[in-house]
Symmetry: C2
Subunit: 152 residues, 2 copies
C-alpha cells in the first residue's frame, strides 16, 4: 500500500544518504540542507571513515552548505535529517540559524529535541528553528534497527 503522501524530496535524499552510510559500515543516518527547495549541502554519518568524533550527518551537511554559501550562518535554510538530532547537532543547528528542522525517527536514547535536554526549549537558546518530526520515520527507524540488530 502506498503511503498517503509521498515523502518530500529532501527527506528521500537524506534516507538515500543513510543507506550509503550503512554500506560504508557507519550508523545509517543522512542529512540534507536546503534553501528555497534546492539542496545546498549533504551529509552522511562519517565518524569511522573520517576518524572524527564530530562527523554526524547533520554536522557534515551544515559544514558543506556553509562552504557552498560562503557564510557561517545559514539563515533561511532548512535541515532534513533521518534521526532526531543529538545535543551536539542541535547546538550546531542553532548556531547556523537553521529556519526549519525536519527529522524522521525520534531518538529516545540520544535525542535532544523532544526528549532529554530539549535544547530548543531552554531559555538560553538563542535561535530556535521550527521543528517537524516523524517525516519518513518508518524508513529511518527500520534502517537503524536492522543495522544494530546485525551487529549484536
Amino acid at each position: 500500500m502506498a503511503p498517503p503522501f509521498p515523502l518530500p524530496g529532501p527527506m528521500r535524499r537524506a534516507l538515500e544518504l543513510a543507506r550509503a552510510a550503512e554500506l560504508a559500515g557507519e550508523v545509517p543516518i543522512g542529512a540534507v540542507v536546503t534553501l528555497d527547495g534546492h539542496i545546498l549541502g549533504e551529509g552522511e554519518n562519517r565518524n569511522r571513515r573520517d576518524r572524527d568524533p564530530t562527523a554526524h550527518a547533520e554536522i557534515v551537511a551544515l559544514r558543506a552548505a556553509a562552504e557552498r554559501l560562503g557564510d557561517f550562518r545559514l539563515t533561511g535554510c532548512d535541515l532534513w535529517v533521518t534521526l532526531e538530532p543529538c545535543p551536539m547537532c542541535a547546538g550546531a543547528i542553532s548556531h547556523a540559524r537553521i529556519a526549519r528542522l525536519y527529522y524522521g525517527a525520534a531518538d529516545p536514547k540520544g535525542g535532544a529535541i523532544e526528549q532529554g535536554p530539549r535544547l530548543f526549549t531552554q531559555p538560553q537558546c538563542l535561535h530556535r528553528p521550527e521543528v517537524y518530526g516523524g517525516l519518513g520515520e518508518a524508513e529511518a527507524s527500520t534502517l537503524l534497527r536492522d543495522f544494530f540488530a546485525a551487529r549484536r
Copy 2:
C-alpha cells in the same frame, strides 16, 4: 602580584590561542587537547575565517586531535578551553570520550556545563568527563569582555 599557583601549560596555550583568534577578528576562545601531558590538537574560534558554524575552538581541537590519533574516540585525553563549552561542544566532548574537561570562565549566556541544560548531568548522557572550572578564569573573561566592549 604573582598568582598563588602558575597556570598549567595547556591552559596557558589555550589563552594564547584565544589571543590569536582575537587578532584574526574572531571571538577570543582557545582550546587544546592533551594526552599524558602532551598536546595532541589545538583550536581557536574560526567561525568567520572558515565560514563554518561548527568551528568553535573545542571542535577544531577535537578534530585535530582525532586526526593525529587516527581514532574518532579520544579515550584518556583531556580538553582545556578558555570558556565554558556550549551545548554543541559539550556534546562533542561526550562523543569523543574526553576524560577530563578543564575550562576557564563560566558562560552564563551560552554555557551548557554548570548552567542551562547542564548536559553532563542529563540521564541520557552516555559519557561524562571529570570537570574542573575556573582555571585561568580572570585572563579568559578579560579577553572576552574587552573584545565585546570594543565592538559595541
